[in-house]
């Protein structure tokens, strides 16, 4: 460290939640200590409450109409913009991910690069998934018949506990790419990269409320979100087996779509499309085609 | 070409005849209509054309105050502004009218003191229109008796949406008759459809025809009191209606978009719609109006910019 920087006291960042496009503290006023992998204090993160979760659902629902109604092209541009913004703050995230997950600078760098490229992957999917999972159905009758995927609505995402950044983005990006809005509960142990991601999202033309990020305990907020009647789906990636079962039972109250936790060895592997299709509904439209006229001739 | 309404005499003989006629009007494709309005919105109006359009727009404003808190003082100030919009530049045209509630008509009339600015009064239980017919007619007659030159009535959107087209038509006819003064002259009647509540473009086209058949002098988009007021698309559609009506009857009807038009840029877009849809026959305040209040100051600031070359600021126009 150079002399001049040794004499200068650094400025700490107050980590805050990201809800409805704003950065509130937890309404509960609670924080908890976040440390690096060696136990060194990093920051006090908000310990979100069920009321924060409730507010986040309201924000996500409010944003759903606009986000799901935006063109796929527009959503793709915004996801790409997120990648652009992340690239510019790469060093910050390399440091935060390194501290959070105990990775060397080069390993953390690879994780952040993969996370940026993950946004690119999903930016390209927004206007393509429809052609893959939708299409015209050749029904046996004089009908036009078309199936198209639509986002399911507000999705609660329990982010992976270990992969605090790449894992989080890998589960979040597919949810919003297709037009859902999300309430994310970060890794409890390592919430800081996720909270900083909120700052990136806020400057990427992403409408407020599309992504809402809460730090705290999945076990505390999870049950309220899993049973919430205005939440349409839940991704249990960050839940342990017991919690996952409990939440899946709660989710049955309004038949939420549930994505069960799956073992992931390597978050940088090809993600495929299943995380998108998990949160899509299929809508099929019928319309008569009829004949050209009473004469009924054809060509 | 027929030059009277007789060609349409039979369509208002019964509810079912009127319904058949209205439902036989060509449909409106919303995407296409909005695309056309947006395309005309990209016209670039510069220099001399802009100067002309700004003065024209000022002269077309029905300078409006329609608040529960309206007082004689507020109405007098508004009237003074209508006559003399920019005290620093007397070449600025007067607005077309001031638009007030019926009980303020006399105040406005006195404040205008004979200047060539009309007094328009809303009537017929504006803005909701939820009152009995005799009340609406009394409201109208009061305003006319107090000296209103123009009456801005609201249709009964409930009746229209319930499919009672003939009731809608009869109401307008009755109000039209209530606009007649003892000397046989009449206040000009503007018919407000509240397009935001009619919701569909097909409804707006149908309402336009009801209004025109019933004797409206102007058809007007909105009260300014609901979420969606004048838009380029609904105004374009109403311009198409008056264009078609004139082609079929020879009768020219005015159009007044109202509510939500706040900037010079917006106003110029509407004038382009007029220019390219119905042409110069409508390019005067006898046939086209803006229902607006804050629009005037923006026009004045733009006017100052054109004459001085400097951007103006809100402290250089009056706040009345």
């Amino acid at each position: 460290m150079s002399e001049s920087s040794a004499t200068r006291l650094s400025v700490f960042k107050t980590y805050k939640l990201y809800v409805g496009g704003k950065f509130p503290r937890s309404e509960s006023g609670r924080v908890y200590e976040v440390t690096d992998s060696k136990g060194k204090w990093l920051a006090n993160a908000p310990l979100s409450s069920r009321k924060d979760a409730r507010d986040a659902v309201v924000a996500a629902r409010k944003a759903f109409g606009g986000w799901s109604g935006a063109t796929a092209y527009n959503r793709g541009q915004i996801l790409y913009r997120i990648a652009e913004m992340l690239e510019g703050r790469r060093e910050q995230f390399v440091r935060e991910v390194g501290e959070a997950e105990g990775l060397s600078k080069s390993k953390a760098g690879a994780v952040v690069d993969a996370a940026i490229d993950r946004w690119i992957w999903y930016a390209g999917w927004t206007d393509k998934i429809g052609q893959l999972v939708g299409g015209a159905n050749p029904v046996a009758g004089p009908f036009f018949n078309l199936s198209t995927p639509e986002p399911t609505g507000v999705v609660t995402v329990l982010a992976p506990q270990d992969s605090s950044f790449l894992g989080l983005i890998s589960v979040l990006a597919p949810v919003i790419a297709t037009g859902n809005t999300a309430v994310v509960i970060t890794s409890e142990k390592s919430p800081l990269p996720a909270l900083s991601l909120g700052e990136v999202l806020a400057t990427s033309d992403l409408p407020g409320g599309v992504v809402n990020i809460l730090s705290g305990k999945a076990a505390e907020m999870g049950p309220h979100l899993a049973s919430h009647q205005d939440v349409n789906a839940i991704d249990l990636a960050g839940a342990g087996a017991a919690l996952a079962k409990e939440l899946e039972i709660a989710a049955a109250d309004n038949l939420k779509r549930v994505l069960r936790p799956q073992p992931v060895d390597d978050w940088s592997a090809d993600p495929g499309t299943s995380r998108m299709t998990a949160f899509l509904e299929t809508k099929t439209v019928w319309h008569p085609t009829g004949s050209l006229g009473a004469g009924g001739s054809s060509y | 070409m027929p030059t009277t309404l007789t060609a349409f005499a039979d369509v208002t003989t019964s509810d079912s005849a009127l319904r058949r006629f209205l439902h036989g009007l060509p449909g409106v494709d919303a995407v296409g209509l909005e695309a056309r309005a947006a395309a005309l919105g990209t016209r670039s109006i510069k220099t001399t054309a802009k100067a002309y359009a700004i003065d024209l727009a000022i002269s077309m404003i029905d300078l409006t105050t329609l608040e529960g808190a309206d007082t004689p003082g507020k109405v007098r100030a508004l009237s003074a502004k209508a006559v003399n919009p920019d005290p620093t530049d007397r070449s600025t045209p007067m607005t077309a009218a001031v638009c007030v509630y019926p009980d303020m008509v006399a105040t406005a009339k006195a404040a205008l003191n004979g200047a060539d600015v009309k007094v328009a009064s809303v009537a017929t239980a504006f803005p909701a229109g939820r009152a009995a017919l005799p009340v609406k007619l009394a409201d109208t007659r009061d305003a006319v008796a107090a000296g209103a030159d123009e009456i801005d009535m609201v249709i009964d959107r409930g009746a229209f949406l319930a499919g009672r087209y003939l009731d809608t038509y009869e109401l307008i006819k009755a109000v039209k008759e209530a606009c007649v003064r003892p000397d046989g002259t009449a206040a000009r009647l503007k018919v407000i459809f509240e397009t935001g509540e009619l919701s569909t473009y097909d409804n707006i086209r149908r309402a336009s025809w009801i209004g025109m058949l019933a004797g409206a002098d102007f058809i007007k988009t909105s009260t300014g009191k609901v979420g969606v007021n004048a838009t380029p698309a609904n105004t374009l559609l109403m311009l198409e209606a008056v264009r078609d009506f004139k082609a079929q009857t020879g009768i020219q009807i005015g159009v007044k978009p109202a509510g939500g038009i706040r900037t010079t840029k917006d106003a110029l877009k509407f004038l382009v719609l007029v220019n390219e849809t119905v042409g110069e026959d409508w390019l005067s305040n006898h046939w086209f109006r803006f229902g607006a209040s804050s629009l005037l100051n923006d026009l004045l600031m733009q006017r100052q910019k054109l004459s001085t070359g400097r951007y103006s600021g809100p402290d250089y126009v009056t706040v009345d």
Partner: protein, 478 residues
Amino acid sequence: MASLFEYAPAPESRSVVDIAPSYGLFIDGEFTDAADGKVFKTVSPSSEEVLSEVAQAGAADVDRAVKAARKAFATWSALPGSERAKYLFRIARIIQERSRELAVLETLDNGKPIKETRDADLPLVAAHFFYYAGWADKLDHAGYGANPRPLGVAGQVIPWNFPLLMLAWKIAPALATGNTVVLKPAETTPLSALFFADICRQAGLPKGVVNILTGYGDAGAALVEHPDVNKVAFTGSTAVGKKIARHVAGTDKKVTLELGGKGANIVFDDAPIDQAVEGIVNGIFFNQGQVCCAGSRLLVQESIHDELLDSLKRRLSTLRLGDPLDKNTDIGAINSAEQLARITALAETGEAEGAERWSPACELPSSGYWFAPTLFTNVTQAHTVARDEIFGPVLSVLTFRTPDEAVAKANNSQYGLSAGIWTEKGSRILAVADKLRAGVIWANTFNKFDPTSPFGGYKESGFGREGGRHGLEGYLDV
């Protein structure tokens, strides 16, 4: 036009684009002279002003460019799709950033109104690159099996009507799938492709992946016939398309052809009339009618013929023809003297064959290549103007009595690129669309394009599709 409210000139600033006095060919990442030193001039069709002088490629240059593309192919095709994607995303973003400059350039070189280059061409160009960028790392999901392979070197020849957009339609899917390209723009509109070369430089695209050869038809023919070209993509006239089809016979070259059209725009009596009028105008006067999918045949139900024609004529009288750089211009210049002569000759044939010609009062500028918006009425299937592609602002109006007859007449053409249907009745739209033999059917709209939507023709309008998932197939070894 109303004289009360005469729009003052509102020209887009020419200063946003800096055109050099001369340009070379773009081969292997460098600008270079033609081997034989030949050059040709490109002019602004609206003024006949010489804009620049560009190198004229010959067979030797084609060979050099193909070699460069071949060399680049090995590394380009071996890149992970996610890396190719990022190059294409960069290109898309740079096009967005430079879109005003490119719009002005395209308007100068092509003659089309700035309103169109600004609001249609350039946004579509950027969107096309953005869309195919997204495919580069998803080819496994495109429905062509696992790990589909590129073809190799693509020889691409594009027309002058949408110079940069046709470039995008060609280059974006080719690069996304891992091919390298040699592209020849039309001789009357070489500049935007050369500016695109500069965008490739800014994006850091590896040299040789994109090569641009400006020149004439001989260069195009040499490219198409080059033995080391694996893929031929051509957009242009049906006559040239047939030549190409013959040239590639017996080779392994994969071919896609986007050729001519004589699109029928069918208006039923229950159409949304005001929007139909706009659609007819857009269908035939967009880009001065120099559009392969133009709605150049208006088929109108006889019962509303007079009413519709009145509306259409009234609307045409408001079209503003003139300086393409003026933001209020609706109709720009015809692209070249040659094209103007072709349109003029076909219009004269129309009159000679007895069709009734009408144009709005419309003053044409004294220099440049101009043709007034023109309608022909009393046209039948037997008229030349109902059969031949005019590729200009000329609309032939025919009538029909029943949907059957409309479909029969619409299909009675050697072409099958586009068609329009105007009716408020949904089942009629679908029934008629079902029977039309054309690759793109627009209902209650016209001339809509989107990178996600496949475009291409039936019959002599060509084969293969550009755009959408389908557009990948022409560049994959499947």
